[in-house]
Amino acid sequence: MQEFETVIGLEVHVELLTRTKLFCGCSTAFGAAPNTQVCPVCLGLPGGMLPLLNKTAAEYTIKAALALNCTVTPNLTFDRKNYFYADLPKGFQISQFFYPMGTNGYLEIHHNGESKKIGIRQLHLEEDTGKLSHFGDIISSPYSRVDFNRAGVPLMEIVSEPDIRSAEEARLYLQKLRTILCYLGISDCKMEEGSMRCDANISLRPVGSSELGKKTELKNMNSFRSVFRGIEYEVERQRTILLSGDSIIPETRHWDEAKGITRAMRSKFVSADYRCFPDPNIPPFPVDTKWVESIQASIPELPDAKYYRFIEEYGLPPYDAEVLTGTKELADFYEEVLTCYREPKTVSNWIMSELMGHLNAAGIGITEAKIKAKDLGKLLQLVGKGEISGKMAKSVFEEMFATGEDPELIIKKQGLAQISDEDTLDGIINTVLAANPQSVQDYHSGKKKALGFLVGQIMKETKGQANPQLVNKMLEEKLKSS
C-alpha cells in the first residue's frame, strides 16, 4: 500500500490583551452588553474619526515577532483588505498585507525527547471583526444580529510554514505558541473564549515527494483537543480518498465536534479577491532600533531557554523540564521552592504529582492556589530532616493546599510531629511486645510477616507519628536480643 506524508500548516489568530481597540479608544473587555463598546471609528460611520494606531498593540506584536525569532519590519504599515460582510463595519479590514510585522521565524517543539523547529512564515497585526448571531443555523434564521464590540479589537495572526507532520505535532506547536504568548503576557490564548483561534491547512503527499498535495482548510476547532481530533479525522479522510484513486477537492471544511467529522463549507475556487492596497489614512510608522531593543529587553526568559536551563542546571529529565516550564508561573513557583529546598528532582516530583494533581482536581491554575512556594519548601525540609514522614507530609500538604497555612503550624495543630525519640519509642515497643506474645513467638519461629504486624501495631499506638525507620530498627534489635 502507498505510504503518505502528512503536511500541515497552521494559521493562528490571537486577540491581544490591550485595554483599547487597535485604532480607537473603545474598551476591549470581554462579555459586555452588545454594541456598548463602539464608536464612529470602529463602526465605520461616515465622517467618523480617523484611525489612530494603538502603540501597545504594535509593541505586543513586535514582542511576539522577536520571541518567535522573526525578522521585524523596519516600517510599520497597514493595508486594506476589501470585502463585504455584515460583521465588517467599514467594508474593509485593516491588516498588514504587504509588510507583515515579522517574517521568517520559528518555534521549537519537543516530542518524545526530540526537538523540532517549525517555521513561522509571518506574523502580523490586524483588526478583529464583529460577531454575528443567528437563530439556529445561518440559513434558516429569520434574521441575524450583529454585535460590534469585538470589531476593531487587535488581532495577531501567526502563519506557520507547512512543517507540521501530524496532529500531535500540530497540538504541540499550538501549545508551545500559547505558552510563549502567555509568557510574554500579550494574550490569554483561551481557545474556548475565542481569544485564540486556529485554522489548519492539510494535505497529503506520497512519502519522498517534495511537491505539496491539494489541500483543504479546516476551520471551527475550538479547543486543543478538537484541533487534534479534527486533523486526525481529516488526514484519514484524505488518505482514504487518495488510496481509492480519487483526488482531493481544495475547499474549506468545518469540524463538527459533536459528530466528530469534517464537512465541506465553500469551495476555494471562488476565493475572494481582496484588492489589498496601503491604507491611505495610516502613514507608515518607523520601527527604530532603539524601540526594538527596548522591547527585546522586556522579554522574559522564554520556555525553551528555561527548558534547557532546567535540564542543564537542575539535572531534570526532559519530561520534567517540559512540564515545569509549561507556564511561567509554574516555573517560577518551582524555582522559588528550590531556594528553600535544593533537591531539584524531589521538588519536581512533588510539584508534578501532588501540586498538579490537586490543581487539576480543583480546576484552578497555580496563580489561584493558596499554597505558597516557600511553605512547600519548608515542608520538604521537614521531610528531609526526618521530622515528619513522607506519608504525613502528604496529609500536611493537603491542608496547606486547602488553607494556605504554614506547614509547621499545621503539624503542631494536628499533633503530627514524628516521634523519633528513642526513649519514648522504647516504652511503646515494650508495651506492644507485651501485648502480642503470639506474634513475638511467630517471629522467632521464622515467620517474618509477624514483624510487619508488630510495626503496624506500634504505628497504630502512635497514631502514625512514630518514625518508621527508627521503629523498624529498634524492633528488630529488641526481637533479636530477646
Binding site: P40, L43, G44, P46, M49, L50, K90, G91, S144, P280
Partner: protein
C-alpha cells in the same frame, strides 16, 4: 448687502463695533441665501431658520466680548464636511437623511472665531468630479449664467454673494475647477495643512479641505483659522502655521515662475481660455515676475493617474455604505441582496461606474498593470514637480481647459477627465494650489473666462496668497 464688498475682517469689525446688528445681518444673509438657493440650487437641506438661530446664538457670543475675528462672517460648508447640527448628505441618496456624530475640526475652529454657518453646499455625489452635475439634490447652476454649471454649491454660494467664503474639499481639483467656473478664488492648501477629521472623503491620499472666496484677504483670514496640526488626524502636519493675514501685506519680490512646455497643446483647451491665460502671462513678465518655460514629462499624465488612484480609494472608502448600520437601506431578505439593493438604489449610475472602475483596476487581474503603475506614476509626478519647484517659486497653468460646461451636457466621471487635466498634479503631489479668476470685463454678466492656477512649494501658501493679492490689486 454691504458684506458683498467688505472683507471678512471688515465685516466682523463692523459687527463687533455695533455698526451692524447681528440679527439684522442674519436676516440679510438669510434673504440672500434664500434667493440664491431658489435661483441656483446651491444648498442642500436649506432652511433659513438655521441662519436666524445661528445669528442669535452668535449675538450672545459677541455681547460677551469674546475675541471673534470672523464675527458674523457668513460661510457655506460643502455637504461632505460634518457638523453636529445639520445633516450631511455628500450629495447622495445614500446619506439623504444622515446626521453625523462628529464635527469637523476646521468647522469647530471657524465657529469658535465667530463665523456664521449659513448652509451646506450642494455637491457632486461624494465629491467625485462631474462638474456639479451629479448631485442627488439636482444640478448646481452658475450664478454668472444659470444655463451653465456652477461646479459646486460652495463656489456658487461665494459667487452669488450670499456668503463670504466656503469650506469645501478638493480631490482631483474639484474645488479649484468650481471656483474657476464661477469666477472666484479657490485655494487647496498643502496636504496635511487642514485636519481631515470630520470629512466624508472618497480619496484620502489626495483629498484636502480648502477655501473659496471672492477676495484674497478672505482666503487668508479663513486659512489662518482652519490650518494646524490635529492629534486626531495622523495625516495632518505639525508644520507651523504663519499668520497669513499679516504675511500677505508684504509684497513679493521677483517671483520666479515656471510654465510647462506645451502647456497649451491640449485639444480640450478652449481658445478663449488659452488666449486669456497667454495674455495674462505676457502682462506678468517684468512686473515682479520672471517667467520661464520648463519641460515637464509626467505632469500631463496626472489626470489619468489621479482618476485611477482616486477610483480605487473611493471603491474602498465607500464600502461602508452597505445599509447595515446607517443611511439608505435597500430592502431584501438576504444579506447579499440587501447590499446589492442598497448600493444599486443608493448610488447614482455615474458613481457606480466610477466605483466599478476602481474595483476593476485594483482586482488581481489589473492590479499590476493599472493600479501599481498609477502609484509609480504618482511618485514620478511628485518628484518632477518638487524638483521644478526647487528652482522656481511657482508653476502656472490654466485651472480648467474650458469655461463652465452647459448643464445637461454629458458627464464622464471616467477617463479621460479633461476637467482635472491641470489640477490633478498638485493633488497627487500634495502641493498647495490657488486658482485666480480671469474675467472678461467686456462680457457683461457672462461666464468667467478662465482660472489661472498657481502651484506652489509644499507649505508655501504664503507666496500663493501674496501673488494673488498682487494680481487682484495691481495687475487686473
Amino acid at each position: 448687502m454691504s458684506g458683498d464688498k467688505l472683507t471678512a475682517a471688515e465685516l466682523a469689525a463692523s459687527i463687533k463695533e455695533g455698526a451692524l446688528q447681528l440679527t439684522e445681518h442674519g436676516e440679510n444673509v438669510s434673504r440672500l441665501c434664500t434667493k440664491a438657493q431658489s435661483e441656483f440650487n446651491i444648498f442642500i437641506n436649506f432652511n433659513p431658520n438655521d441662519i436666524t438661530k445661528e445669528s442669535e446664538r452668535l449675538a450672545g457670543k459677541v455681547g460677551s466680548g469674546a475675541e471673534l475675528p470672523l464675527a458674523g462672517v457668513p460661510f457655506c460648508l460643502a455637504d461632505n464636511i460634518c457638523t453636529l447640527e445639520l445633516k450631511t448628505t455628500c450629495g447622495s441618496r445614500m446619506l439623504a437623511s444622515y446626521r453625523p456624530l462628529t464635527e469637523d475640526g476646521a468647522v469647530r475652529r471657524l465657529k469658535e472665531k465667530g463665523a456664521l454657518l449659513a448652509a451646506k453646499g450642494n455637491m457632486d455625489e461624494f465629491g467625485i468630479g462631474a462638474g456639479g452635475r451629479n448631485s442627488f439634490f439636482g444640478a448646481i447652476k452658475n450664478p454668472c449664467n444659470p444655463e451653465h454649471t456652477g461646479g459646486s454649491g460652495a463656489a456658487a454660494a461665494v459667487a452669488s454673494g450670499a456668503v463670504s467664503f466656503s469650506l469645501a474639499t478638493d480631490r482631483c481639483g474639484e474645488l479649484r475647477q468650481a471656483a474657476a467656473y464661477c469666477g472666484v478664488l479657490g485655494l487647496k492648501p498643502t496636504y496635511g495643512r487642514i485636519s481631515r477629521q470630520g470629512l466624508i472623503d472618497s480619496a484620502p491620499s489626495m483629498e484636502q479641505a480648502g477655501i473659496i472666496a471672492r477676495q484674497t484677504k478672505d482666503l487668508a483670514s479663513a486659512l489662518s483659522i482652519v490650518c494646524g496640526a490635529d492629534p486626531q488626524d495622523p495625516t495632518s502636519s505639525s508644520c507651523g502655521v504663519p499668520d497669513f493675514n499679516a504675511l500677505i501685506e508684504e509684497k513679493p519680490r521677483s517671483v520666479k515662475i515656471a510654465l510647462p512646455y506645451l502647456w497649451d497643446d491640449l485639444a480640450a483647451l478652449e481658445g478663449e481660455v488659452k488666449d486669456a491665460i497667454a495674455a495674462l502671462l505676457c502682462r506678468l513678465e517684468g512686473n515682479y515676475f520672471s517667467l520661464e518655460t520648463v519641460p515637464l514629462e509626467y505632469f500631463h499624465h496626472a489626470s489619468t493617474t489621479a482618476a485611477m488612484i482616486s477610483a480605487v480609494e473611493a471603491f474602498s472608502n465607500l464600502s461602508n455604505y452597505d445599509g447595515v448600520r446607517f443611511g439608505f437601506r435597500g430592502e431584501s431578505k438576504h444579506l447579499h441582496d440587501m447590499y446589492r439593493q442598497t448600493r444599486t438604489e443608493g448610488f447614482s449610475s455615474n458613481l457606480k461606474k466610477f466605483l466599478t472602475f476602481g474595483a476593476l483596476i485594483s482586482s488581481g487581474k489589473y492590479y499590476h498593470d493599472c493600479f501599481l503603475k498609477a502609484q509609480k506614476m504618482r511618485s514620478l509626478i511628485k518628484d518632477e514637480l518638487e524638483k521644478c519647484l526647487l528652482q522656481y517659486d511657482l508653476l502656472v497653468v490654466p485651472t480648467v481647459p474650458f469655461k463652465a460646461p452647459l448643464l445637461g451636457s454629458g458627464i464622464s466621471p471616467l477617463l479621460p477627465d479633461f476637467a482635472a487635466y491641470y489640477t490633478a498634479a498638485a493633488s497627487l503631489a500634495g502641493l498647495p494650489a490657488l486658482t485666480f479668476p480671469l474675467k472678461d470685463p467686456a462680457q457683461k454678466g457672462g461666464l468667467p473666462v478662465a482660472g489661472l492656477q498657481l502651484i506652489g512649494k509644499a507649505w508655501d501658501e504664503k507666496t500663493l496668497l501674496q501673488v494673488s493679492l498682487l494680481l487682484e490689486e495691481e495687475l487686473l
